[in-house]
Every structure is written in structure tokens, then in C-alpha cells.
């Protein structure tokens, strides 16, 4: 009887079933709250022709950037990809396709995908290149565009604490896209800093209920900081 025990013991087991041409939805914002070990596992598996839905694509050599090195990604759906030289190269050479999506629209597309809402209307992007080719419609005196939801074959998520049932909480702003990503994958894998006793999380404080989660793996994290800015110590803050 496995019941609701979703803990897997190896990264191989965590990403089992991932194959070429699949779509992966990844949590994280910049390098904050990214499933580092799951990304490494995808690199190790060397699956190619992937579509990756993620707000950013890491940096050269870290985060999702490592998948660019092996040319595993065919298409990125992101809001901002300005941090990687490799990204730029592959885009210019035509090896990589990018679908730029406003950050809020991207977050909502993931949420809608997980929530069984196939499409919604938003004012974001109306009258801009983002709206081109999309249906527009007026509600009241304002114009909106229709955006369709996204779902993935896999979702890879980074949480702070999880129990074996897959109930997750996120730490500080490492929450970001992780809760929506968790809902939008056919198979959702959560890499977690700490596995806690089932029943020890307050039910009302759980950010991601375990029903969305298929596999949980305990990882170790480098947690690289992209822009360490300090308050001037000579100031009175």
C-alpha cells in the first residue's frame, strides 16, 4: 500500500518518464526558487527538443541555462530571457524558438492550465505585438485579448518544506511561479529542502495541496544569488 506517499529516493525516479519533445513547466523566478537537482537530472537524461515554460531561462551555466549548453531546449515560453549569452546565440542561429509572454499573463496561463480554464481575457498586451494574431474583445469600454492556458507533460517545482503527501510550503519570494507550475503538469515533481512529518504543517498554511503533486524528492541546493545588493552600511536604514 503506497497510499499517499509520494517520496521518491532518486532523481532517476523523480524524472522517470520524461522523453524527447515533451513540455516542461518550471517554477522559479530568476535563480530564486528553482528546482536545481531536477534541472541537473534533465541535463543528465539528455532529452531533447523540449519546450520549457518558465519565466526565465537561468543564466549561463546555472539553472535552466545548463539545458541550453546541450541544446536540449527547442522552445522557451518566458517573459524575460536577457541573462544568457547562450540563449542569444541559439536564438540568432535559429536553433531555439522563444515565445515571449508577459509575466502576469504567463503566471495566469499556468494557473488556468491547472484549473481547467482553457482561456481567459486580459488587457495585458492589447494593441502590442503580444496581441497580434489573438482574438480581441470589448467588455464594457475596454479592449482585451484572449489568452489560452498552458499545461505540461511535467512540472518541476522547488518547495521549502513538504510532507510525504506532497503538501508544500514555499519560503519567502521563492514562492513565485512554483504554486502555479505545480498545478499545470500531468506529472508534478517537487524538489524540497526539507521533508517534514505528515500532519506537522498547518492545513491552512499549505501553499500547494498534495493533490497536485505526484513525486517528492529531497534535494540539496546551491541557491545562487543573481544580484547581491547590500544596503550601504554607513547609512541609517
Amino acid at each position: 500500500m503506497a497510499g499517499f506517499n509520494k517520496v521518491v529516493e532518486s532523481y532517476d525516479a523523480a524524472m522517470a518518464g520524461l522523453t524527447d519533445n515533451m513540455t516542461i513547466i518550471a517554477g522559479g523566478f530568476g535563480l530564486c526558487g528553482i528546482p536545481e537537482g531536477l534541472i541537473s537530472q534533465i541535463r543528465k537524461m539528455a532529452t531533447t527538443n523540449l519546450t520549457v515554460v518558465s519565466n526565465n531561462c537561468g543564466v549561463d551555466g546555472f539553472g535552466l541555462g545548463v539545458l541550453l549548453q546541450q541544446k536540449q531546449i527547442r522552445k522557451m515560453i518566458s517573459s524575460y530571457v536577457g541573462e544568457n549569452a547562450l540563449f542569444e546565440q541559439q536564438l540568432l542561429s535559429g536553433e531555439l524558438e522563444v515565445e515571449l509572454t508577459p509575466q502576469g499573463t504567463l503566471a495566469e496561463k499556468m494557473r488556468a492550465g491547472g484549473a481547467g480554464i482553457p482561456a481567459f481575457y486580459t488587457a495585458t498586451g492589447y494593441g502590442t505585438p503580444v496581441g497580434e494574431g489573438k482574438e480581441t474583445r470589448k467588455f464594457g469600454d475596454r479592449s482585451y485579448i484572449m489568452e489560452e492556458s498552458v499545461t505540461g507533460d511535467f512540472s518541476i517545482v522547488k518547495a521549502w518544506k513538504a510532507d510525504k503527501y506532497g503538501n508544500c510550503i514555499y519560503r519567502h519570494t521563492a514562492q513565485n511561479f512554483n504554486p502555479m507550475a505545480a498545478t499545470a503538469g500531468k506529472i508534478t515533481v517537487v524538489e524540497v529542502e526539507e521533508l517534514v512529518e505528515t500532519g506537522s504543517l498547518n492545513p491552512s498554511e499549505i501553499h500547494t495541496p498534495g493533490i497536485y503533486v505526484d513525486r517528492v524528492i529531497v534535494g540539496t541546493f546551491e541557491k545562487r544569488i543573481e544580484r547581491k545588493i547590500l544596503t550601504p552600511t554607513t547609512n541609517n536604514q
Partner: protein, 218 residues
Amino acid sequence: MSLSREQIAMRVAQEFSDGDYVNLGIGIPTLAANYVDKDIEVMLQSENGLLGMGPYPTEEQVDADMINAGKETVTASKGASIFSSAESFAMIRGGHVDLTVLGAFEVDVSGSIASWMIPGKLIKGMGGAMDLVAGARNIIVTMTHADKHGNSKLLDSCTLPLTGVNCINRIITDLAVIEVKDGAFHLKEKAPDVTVEEIKSKTAGKLIITENTPDMSF
């Protein structure tokens, strides 16, 4: 003399009202947080999922899990809340943020803005800018009045790909405070020691000037 970055930021800070929820873009807008009137309180929203952004951390406070929308290390202020990016943009898109301040390449007389893409240059992405300009109740652009070649950034119609249409209420430049309404730029204030003639010459779009334009005061 045209304003320095810090002076523009100081003038931006005068737009804040007590109790405002404000989203500040990268660059000059972020600087404005340093000049909030001591008699008022504002809360800063960071679109990755933080309401109540505090100062940058000390070395001891640095935490990889605590960053702002510019991916910089940051702290949370008293009364802060932290949430998902979907919730963050629900807040933005739903019109709950009182004021957004952001930079731009161009603004036109209809209040449309171009700020994210220059054809021929590599595209980095719009991030949250399109959501912000479609969502906030009041949107202020900060930028230099003209580019480094002297070409006006205040146009009758934007030439670059748009970030949003009919959404900008106010522009604060190194030369002037401009209100955007009824299909024209309205000169409200000018930088001290800058002439109305200079502003006129650097504003390509329709500009409406009333007598005795006041100087900005700091």
C-alpha cells in the same frame, strides 16, 4: 540645467500619496523610494510576489529566497505579505496598485508607451511591464526628454513596438512634468533654469503650454 537622475527621482517621489501601494520599475523609479516624504507612508509592490518591499539587506540579512522583481536581494518591511506571481499579477491587473512608475523609450500623445523592444536589437522580453501598464490606476513614465542624439521621446505616435496603449497619465523627464490627456502633452512644470522653448524644441508630439509654467520644486 536638466535634472539629474536623483532629481527626477525626487520629483517622482512627490507623486506619492499617503497610503499608496506603488510599483517602481528598475532604474530611476526605484531611486524614488529614497525620497518618500517623511510624513507619509507608501508600500512598495514587487511583481515577483512581495507587497511591502524594504531596503536592501545587510550582509547578515542576505537571503537567496528574498529577492525583488529586479532579482536583487531585498528585505520585507513591516506588514509585508508574500504570495505567488499569479496573485501578484491579479493584484496588478485588477487595479489594486495605486501607482506604477516605469521607464520608457517613447510615449505618445494618446498615452501609449514603447519600452521593451527595439527592432534589430536582441529581444530580452517584456517581463511584467505590459501587465503593469495595463493594470495600475495611475501610471507615470520617467525618462530623459530626448535620446542621446537629441531626438524627442515624446511623440505624436510611438514608432517602436508598444508595451501598452492609452495608459500613461504623466511623464516626468529631466526637463519637465507632462500630463498626457485629450490627445496632447500638457506642460505642468519645468525644471528650474530650463526654458519653455527648450522643452518645446525637444517635444515632437503636440504640446499644450499654459502661461507661466511653474518650476519644479524640491
